[in-house]
Protein backbone atom coordinates (compact mmCIF):
# COMPACT_ATOMS: atom_id res chain seq x y z
CA UNK A 1 0.00 0.00 0.00
CA UNK A 2 3.01 2.28 0.25
CA UNK A 3 2.88 4.78 -2.60
CA UNK A 4 5.99 6.03 -4.35
CA UNK A 5 7.85 9.09 -3.22
CA UNK A 6 5.90 11.50 -5.41
CA UNK A 7 2.51 10.38 -4.19
CA UNK A 8 1.09 12.18 -1.23
CA UNK A 9 -1.38 9.65 0.01
CA UNK A 10 -4.28 10.81 2.08
CA UNK A 11 -7.48 9.09 3.06
CA UNK A 12 -10.99 10.00 2.11
CA UNK A 13 -12.25 8.32 5.21
CA UNK A 14 -11.01 6.49 8.24
CA UNK A 15 -12.33 3.34 6.67
CA UNK A 16 -9.35 1.36 5.49
CA UNK A 17 -7.03 2.48 8.25
CA UNK A 18 -6.37 6.02 7.06
CA UNK A 19 -5.49 8.65 9.59
CA UNK A 20 -6.34 12.01 8.11
CA UNK A 21 -9.84 13.40 8.05
CA UNK A 22 -11.02 13.92 4.51
CA UNK A 23 -10.50 17.25 2.84
CA UNK A 24 -13.70 19.32 2.90
CA UNK A 25 -13.52 20.11 -0.81
CA UNK A 26 -13.30 16.43 -1.64
CA UNK A 27 -16.33 15.69 0.51
CA UNK A 28 -18.38 18.55 -0.86
CA UNK A 29 -17.76 17.76 -4.49
CA UNK A 30 -18.99 14.27 -3.75
CA UNK A 31 -21.98 14.85 -1.49
CA UNK A 32 -23.24 17.90 -3.37
CA UNK A 33 -22.31 17.10 -6.94
CA UNK A 34 -22.55 13.36 -6.86
CA UNK A 35 -24.61 10.87 -4.98
CA UNK A 36 -28.00 9.80 -6.12
CA UNK A 37 -30.41 12.61 -6.77
CA UNK A 38 -33.97 11.77 -5.88
CA UNK A 39 -36.32 14.57 -5.04
CA UNK A 40 -37.43 14.16 -1.45
CA UNK A 41 -40.64 15.59 -0.02
CA UNK A 42 -38.79 18.65 1.11
CA UNK A 43 -37.92 20.41 -2.09
CA UNK A 44 -34.59 22.10 -2.04
CA UNK A 45 -34.10 23.93 -5.25
CA UNK A 46 -31.27 22.04 -6.88
CA UNK A 47 -30.21 25.19 -8.59
CA UNK A 48 -29.47 26.64 -5.19
CA UNK A 49 -27.17 23.76 -4.50
CA UNK A 50 -25.62 23.92 -7.94
CA UNK A 51 -24.96 27.57 -7.44
CA UNK A 52 -23.47 26.94 -4.09
CA UNK A 53 -21.17 24.30 -5.50
CA UNK A 54 -19.87 26.77 -8.01
CA UNK A 55 -19.12 29.20 -5.25
CA UNK A 56 -17.45 26.50 -3.24
CA UNK A 57 -15.34 25.39 -6.11
CA UNK A 58 -13.95 28.83 -6.05
CA UNK A 59 -13.16 29.12 -2.42
CA UNK A 60 -14.20 27.49 0.79
CA UNK A 61 -12.78 29.66 3.47
CA UNK A 62 -14.05 33.03 2.41
CA UNK A 63 -14.97 34.97 -0.63
CA UNK A 64 -12.95 37.83 0.73
CA UNK A 65 -9.76 35.85 0.38
CA UNK A 66 -10.51 35.24 -3.26
CA UNK A 67 -11.30 38.88 -3.79
CA UNK A 68 -7.98 39.78 -2.24
CA UNK A 69 -6.15 37.67 -4.79
CA UNK A 70 -8.18 39.27 -7.53
CA UNK A 71 -10.69 36.57 -8.28
CA UNK A 72 -14.11 38.08 -8.53
CA UNK A 73 -15.78 36.64 -11.57
CA UNK A 74 -18.91 35.77 -9.63
CA UNK A 75 -19.56 39.46 -9.24
CA UNK A 76 -20.25 39.52 -12.95
CA UNK A 77 -22.01 36.20 -13.05
CA UNK A 78 -25.77 36.66 -13.27
CA UNK A 79 -26.33 33.45 -11.26
CA UNK A 80 -24.22 34.57 -8.42
CA UNK A 81 -24.69 38.24 -8.15
CA UNK A 82 -27.80 40.22 -7.40
CA UNK A 83 -26.09 43.27 -8.83
CA UNK A 84 -25.53 41.73 -12.18
CA UNK A 85 -29.05 40.35 -12.17
CA UNK A 86 -30.32 43.85 -11.81
CA UNK A 87 -27.95 44.97 -14.49
CA UNK A 88 -29.19 42.25 -16.77
CA UNK A 89 -32.78 43.28 -16.26
CA UNK A 90 -31.79 46.84 -17.00
CA UNK A 91 -29.99 45.77 -20.16
CA UNK A 92 -32.91 43.67 -21.23
CA UNK A 93 -35.15 46.67 -20.76
CA UNK A 94 -32.81 48.83 -22.79
CA UNK A 95 -32.77 46.15 -25.46
CA UNK A 96 -36.52 46.06 -25.69
CA UNK A 97 -36.68 49.84 -25.94
CA UNK A 98 -34.28 49.62 -28.84
CA UNK A 99 -36.38 46.91 -30.43
CA UNK A 100 -39.50 49.04 -30.09
CA UNK A 101 -37.78 51.97 -31.66
CA UNK A 102 -36.43 49.77 -34.40
CA UNK A 103 -39.89 48.46 -35.08
CA UNK A 104 -41.42 51.91 -35.23
CA UNK A 105 -38.70 53.09 -37.59
CA UNK A 106 -39.15 50.08 -39.83
CA UNK A 107 -42.89 50.73 -39.99
CA UNK A 108 -42.17 54.28 -40.90
CA UNK A 109 -39.74 53.34 -43.67
CA UNK A 110 -42.23 50.85 -44.99
CA UNK A 111 -44.98 53.46 -45.00
CA UNK A 112 -42.75 55.93 -46.77
CA UNK A 113 -41.59 53.37 -49.30
CA UNK A 114 -45.04 52.12 -50.10
CA UNK A 115 -46.05 55.76 -50.52
CA UNK A 116 -43.36 56.16 -53.26
CA UNK A 117 -43.43 52.71 -54.91
CA UNK A 118 -46.27 50.34 -54.54
CA UNK A 119 -44.41 47.48 -53.01
CA UNK A 120 -42.99 46.31 -49.78
Amino acid sequence: MQPGSGAAQTYGSRYGGGHEPANLGDILERVLDKGLVIAGDIQVNLLDIELLTIKLRLVIASLETAREVGINWWENDPWLSADSQRREVRERRADSELEDENYRLRQRVRALESGGRDRD
Binding site: M1, G4, A8, Y15, G40, V44, V59
Partner: protein, 265 residues
Protein backbone atom coordinates in the same frame (compact mmCIF):
# COMPACT_ATOMS: atom_id res chain seq x y z
CA UNK B 1 -45.90 15.95 18.79
CA UNK B 2 -43.40 18.55 19.83
CA UNK B 3 -42.05 20.02 16.61
CA UNK B 4 -42.48 19.15 12.95
CA UNK B 5 -39.92 16.63 11.79
CA UNK B 6 -38.67 15.23 8.53
CA UNK B 7 -36.54 12.23 7.60
CA UNK B 8 -33.08 12.93 6.27
CA UNK B 9 -31.98 10.02 4.07
CA UNK B 10 -28.27 9.17 3.83
CA UNK B 11 -28.13 6.10 1.72
CA UNK B 12 -29.86 2.95 0.61
CA UNK B 13 -28.44 -0.47 1.31
CA UNK B 14 -29.81 -4.00 1.38
CA UNK B 15 -29.54 -4.61 5.07
CA UNK B 16 -27.34 -3.60 7.92
CA UNK B 17 -26.69 -5.41 11.21
CA UNK B 18 -28.82 -4.04 14.03
CA UNK B 19 -26.96 -1.64 16.26
CA UNK B 20 -24.06 -1.09 13.87
CA UNK B 21 -24.84 2.62 13.58
CA UNK B 22 -25.51 3.26 17.25
CA UNK B 23 -22.31 5.19 17.74
CA UNK B 24 -22.67 7.38 14.67
CA UNK B 25 -24.02 10.89 15.12
CA UNK B 26 -26.11 12.19 12.25
CA UNK B 27 -26.54 15.64 10.74
CA UNK B 28 -29.07 16.64 13.38
CA UNK B 29 -27.02 15.10 16.16
CA UNK B 30 -29.68 12.44 16.60
CA UNK B 31 -29.78 8.68 16.34
CA UNK B 32 -29.47 7.25 12.85
CA UNK B 33 -32.15 4.65 12.12
CA UNK B 34 -33.48 2.57 9.30
CA UNK B 35 -36.62 2.40 7.19
CA UNK B 36 -37.13 -1.00 5.60
CA UNK B 37 -39.27 -1.78 2.56
CA UNK B 38 -39.13 -4.30 -0.23
CA UNK B 39 -35.92 -5.91 0.97
CA UNK B 40 -34.13 -2.57 0.99
CA UNK B 41 -33.02 -0.40 3.87
CA UNK B 42 -32.87 3.37 3.89
CA UNK B 43 -30.47 4.84 6.43
CA UNK B 44 -32.18 7.90 7.85
CA UNK B 45 -32.45 10.31 10.73
CA UNK B 46 -35.37 12.23 12.19
CA UNK B 47 -34.52 15.90 11.86
CA UNK B 48 -36.36 19.05 12.93
CA UNK B 49 -37.80 20.94 9.99
CA UNK B 50 -36.94 24.10 11.79
CA UNK B 51 -33.36 23.41 10.74
CA UNK B 52 -33.82 21.02 7.81
CA UNK B 53 -37.05 22.18 6.22
CA UNK B 54 -37.21 23.84 2.86
CA UNK B 55 -36.69 27.46 3.86
CA UNK B 56 -34.17 26.55 6.54
CA UNK B 57 -32.14 24.43 4.13
CA UNK B 58 -32.00 27.15 1.58
CA UNK B 59 -30.64 29.50 4.21
CA UNK B 60 -28.34 27.00 5.89
CA UNK B 61 -26.76 25.67 2.72
CA UNK B 62 -25.31 29.12 2.20
CA UNK B 63 -23.78 29.06 5.64
CA UNK B 64 -20.37 27.51 5.14
CA UNK B 65 -19.89 26.50 8.76
CA UNK B 66 -23.26 24.75 8.82
CA UNK B 67 -22.58 23.19 5.45
CA UNK B 68 -19.21 21.85 6.50
CA UNK B 69 -20.58 20.30 9.65
CA UNK B 70 -23.54 18.82 7.82
CA UNK B 71 -21.52 17.52 4.87
CA UNK B 72 -19.03 15.87 7.20
CA UNK B 73 -21.82 14.28 9.23
CA UNK B 74 -23.57 13.07 6.07
CA UNK B 75 -20.30 11.56 4.85
CA UNK B 76 -19.53 10.05 8.26
CA UNK B 77 -22.80 8.13 8.34
CA UNK B 78 -22.47 6.86 4.77
CA UNK B 79 -18.88 5.91 5.49
CA UNK B 80 -20.00 3.90 8.51
CA UNK B 81 -22.64 2.11 6.44
CA UNK B 82 -20.31 1.21 3.59
CA UNK B 83 -18.10 -0.73 6.00
CA UNK B 84 -21.01 -3.04 6.62
CA UNK B 85 -22.66 -3.31 3.28
CA UNK B 86 -22.70 -1.82 -0.26
CA UNK B 87 -24.51 1.52 -0.47
CA UNK B 88 -26.10 3.90 -2.88
CA UNK B 89 -25.33 7.28 -1.28
CA UNK B 90 -27.95 9.99 -1.54
CA UNK B 91 -27.12 13.54 -2.36
CA UNK B 92 -26.89 15.88 0.60
CA UNK B 93 -30.24 17.29 1.74
CA UNK B 94 -32.59 14.54 0.61
CA UNK B 95 -35.42 14.95 3.11
CA UNK B 96 -38.75 13.12 3.31
CA UNK B 97 -41.85 13.84 5.31
CA UNK B 98 -41.89 10.48 7.06
CA UNK B 99 -41.43 6.70 7.01
CA UNK B 100 -44.27 6.11 4.58
CA UNK B 101 -42.85 8.23 1.81
CA UNK B 102 -39.35 6.79 2.27
CA UNK B 103 -40.82 3.29 2.07
CA UNK B 104 -42.73 4.29 -1.08
CA UNK B 105 -39.53 5.64 -2.61
CA UNK B 106 -37.71 2.36 -1.85
CA UNK B 107 -40.51 0.22 -3.23
CA UNK B 108 -40.99 2.36 -6.31
CA UNK B 109 -37.36 2.04 -7.32
CA UNK B 110 -36.48 -1.29 -5.80
CA UNK B 111 -35.16 -2.84 -9.02
CA UNK B 112 -32.95 0.12 -9.82
CA UNK B 113 -31.58 0.20 -6.27
CA UNK B 114 -30.81 -3.49 -6.39
CA UNK B 115 -29.05 -3.11 -9.73
CA UNK B 116 -27.01 -0.17 -8.44
CA UNK B 117 -26.14 -2.01 -5.22
CA UNK B 118 -25.03 -4.98 -7.29
CA UNK B 119 -22.68 -2.72 -9.21
CA UNK B 120 -21.25 -1.28 -5.98
CA UNK B 121 -20.80 -4.61 -4.31
CA UNK B 122 -17.18 -5.30 -3.29
CA UNK B 123 -16.08 -2.14 -5.02
CA UNK B 124 -14.52 1.08 -3.76
CA UNK B 125 -14.07 4.58 -5.04
CA UNK B 126 -10.59 6.07 -4.98
CA UNK B 127 -9.71 9.64 -5.84
CA UNK B 128 -6.58 10.78 -7.64
CA UNK B 129 -5.63 14.40 -8.03
CA UNK B 130 -2.77 15.35 -10.28
CA UNK B 131 -0.92 18.63 -9.84
CA UNK B 132 1.96 20.17 -11.66
CA UNK B 133 4.95 19.62 -9.40
CA UNK B 134 6.31 22.96 -8.21
CA UNK B 135 9.71 22.42 -9.77
CA UNK B 136 8.19 21.89 -13.19
CA UNK B 137 6.86 25.42 -13.03
CA UNK B 138 10.32 26.69 -12.27
CA UNK B 139 11.81 24.77 -15.18
CA UNK B 140 9.23 26.21 -17.50
CA UNK B 141 10.92 29.59 -17.40
CA UNK B 142 14.36 29.15 -18.96
CA UNK B 143 17.30 30.95 -17.50
CA UNK B 144 17.67 34.30 -19.19
CA UNK B 145 20.55 35.89 -17.36
CA UNK B 146 23.97 36.08 -19.00
CA UNK B 147 22.89 35.11 -22.49
CA UNK B 148 23.69 37.16 -25.55
CA UNK B 149 21.23 39.98 -25.88
CA UNK B 150 22.33 41.24 -29.26
CA UNK B 151 21.40 40.07 -32.72
CA UNK B 152 19.46 41.79 -35.45
CA UNK B 153 17.11 44.47 -34.30
CA UNK B 154 18.99 45.53 -31.21
CA UNK B 155 18.00 45.30 -27.57
CA UNK B 156 14.24 45.64 -27.93
CA UNK B 157 13.95 42.90 -30.51
CA UNK B 158 16.24 40.67 -28.48
CA UNK B 159 14.00 41.17 -25.49
CA UNK B 160 10.94 40.27 -27.48
CA UNK B 161 12.63 37.18 -28.89
CA UNK B 162 13.63 36.10 -25.41
CA UNK B 163 10.15 36.72 -24.14
CA UNK B 164 8.63 34.75 -26.99
CA UNK B 165 10.97 31.83 -26.32
CA UNK B 166 10.06 31.93 -22.66
CA UNK B 167 6.36 31.92 -23.41
CA UNK B 168 6.60 29.11 -25.89
CA UNK B 169 8.72 27.13 -23.45
CA UNK B 170 6.01 27.68 -20.85
CA UNK B 171 3.36 26.58 -23.30
CA UNK B 172 5.35 23.48 -24.18
CA UNK B 173 5.78 22.65 -20.52
CA UNK B 174 2.09 23.11 -19.92
CA UNK B 175 1.16 20.92 -22.89
CA UNK B 176 3.56 18.29 -21.69
CA UNK B 177 2.01 18.36 -18.24
CA UNK B 178 -1.47 17.98 -19.69
CA UNK B 179 -0.37 15.04 -21.81
CA UNK B 180 1.30 13.42 -18.80
CA UNK B 181 -1.86 13.85 -16.74
CA UNK B 182 -3.86 12.22 -19.52
CA UNK B 183 -1.40 9.31 -19.59
CA UNK B 184 -1.82 8.89 -15.84
CA UNK B 185 -5.59 8.90 -16.18
CA UNK B 186 -5.40 6.39 -19.02
CA UNK B 187 -3.19 4.02 -17.05
CA UNK B 188 -5.34 4.21 -13.92
CA UNK B 189 -8.55 3.78 -15.90
CA UNK B 190 -7.20 0.44 -17.11
CA UNK B 191 -7.30 -0.84 -13.55
CA UNK B 192 -10.75 0.52 -12.82
CA UNK B 193 -14.25 -0.69 -13.51
CA UNK B 194 -15.30 2.87 -14.16
CA UNK B 195 -13.93 6.38 -13.83
CA UNK B 196 -15.38 9.85 -13.38
CA UNK B 197 -13.81 13.27 -13.75
CA UNK B 198 -14.53 16.01 -11.26
CA UNK B 199 -13.72 19.59 -12.21
CA UNK B 200 -10.23 20.52 -11.04
CA UNK B 201 -10.35 22.35 -7.73
CA UNK B 202 -9.31 25.96 -7.49
CA UNK B 203 -6.01 26.68 -5.73
CA UNK B 204 -7.94 28.48 -2.97
CA UNK B 205 -9.59 25.18 -2.20
CA UNK B 206 -6.54 22.97 -2.35
CA UNK B 207 -4.29 25.31 -0.45
CA UNK B 208 -1.51 24.89 -2.97
CA UNK B 209 -0.49 27.21 -5.76
CA UNK B 210 0.23 24.35 -8.15
CA UNK B 211 -2.49 24.03 -10.76
CA UNK B 212 -4.60 20.90 -10.54
CA UNK B 213 -4.51 19.07 -13.86
CA UNK B 214 -6.74 16.15 -13.07
CA UNK B 215 -9.35 15.43 -10.43
CA UNK B 216 -10.54 11.91 -11.07
CA UNK B 217 -12.43 9.20 -9.25
CA UNK B 218 -12.06 5.50 -10.00
CA UNK B 219 -14.36 2.65 -9.13
CA UNK B 220 -12.25 -0.36 -8.29
CA UNK B 221 -12.87 -3.96 -7.47
CA UNK B 222 -11.87 -4.29 -3.84
CA UNK B 223 -9.09 -6.75 -4.53
CA UNK B 224 -7.46 -4.37 -6.98
CA UNK B 225 -6.99 -1.51 -4.54
CA UNK B 226 -3.44 -2.56 -3.71
CA UNK B 227 -2.51 -2.78 -7.37
CA UNK B 228 -4.06 0.61 -7.80
CA UNK B 229 -2.15 2.31 -4.98
CA UNK B 230 1.04 0.70 -6.28
CA UNK B 231 0.26 1.98 -9.76
CA UNK B 232 -0.24 5.50 -8.44
CA UNK B 233 3.16 5.29 -6.79
CA UNK B 234 4.81 3.99 -9.95
CA UNK B 235 3.18 6.65 -12.10
CA UNK B 236 4.33 9.35 -9.71
CA UNK B 237 7.87 8.06 -10.16
CA UNK B 238 7.71 7.91 -13.94
CA UNK B 239 6.21 11.40 -14.21
CA UNK B 240 8.43 13.56 -12.01
CA UNK B 241 6.82 16.74 -13.36
CA UNK B 242 3.57 15.71 -11.71
CA UNK B 243 2.47 15.37 -8.12
CA UNK B 244 -0.16 12.74 -7.47
CA UNK B 245 -2.47 12.68 -4.51
CA UNK B 246 -4.45 9.60 -3.67
CA UNK B 247 -7.56 9.65 -1.50
CA UNK B 248 -9.81 6.83 -0.48
CA UNK B 249 -11.37 4.50 -0.22
CA UNK B 250 -14.56 6.48 -0.55
CA UNK B 251 -18.13 5.31 -0.59
CA UNK B 252 -19.01 5.15 -4.30
CA UNK B 253 -20.37 8.71 -4.46
CA UNK B 254 -19.13 9.38 -7.96
CA UNK B 255 -20.67 6.24 -9.41
CA UNK B 256 -23.98 5.81 -7.65
CA UNK B 257 -25.88 8.40 -9.59
CA UNK B 258 -24.67 7.37 -13.03
CA UNK B 259 -26.58 7.94 -16.24
CA UNK B 260 -28.21 4.53 -16.43
CA UNK B 261 -30.20 5.26 -13.33
CA UNK B 262 -30.94 8.85 -14.15
CA UNK B 263 -32.39 7.81 -17.47
CA UNK B 264 -34.53 5.14 -15.93
CA UNK B 265 -35.66 7.30 -13.02
Amino acid sequence: MTEPRGLWVYAVTEQIPAGSLDQVAGVGGGQVRTVVADGLTAIAEDVPLEEFGEAALRRNLEDLAWLEETARAHHRVIDAVVRQSPVVPMRLATVYSGDASVAAMLAGRADDFRAALGRMSRRQEWGVKVYAAERAEANAAPAHGGTEDTGSGGKGAAYLRRRRDQLSAQQDARRELTVSAELVHGALSQLAVDSALHPPQAPQLTGTSAPMLLNAAYLLDEQRSEDFTAAVGALAKSHPALRLELTGPWPPYSFAGVEQEEEAW
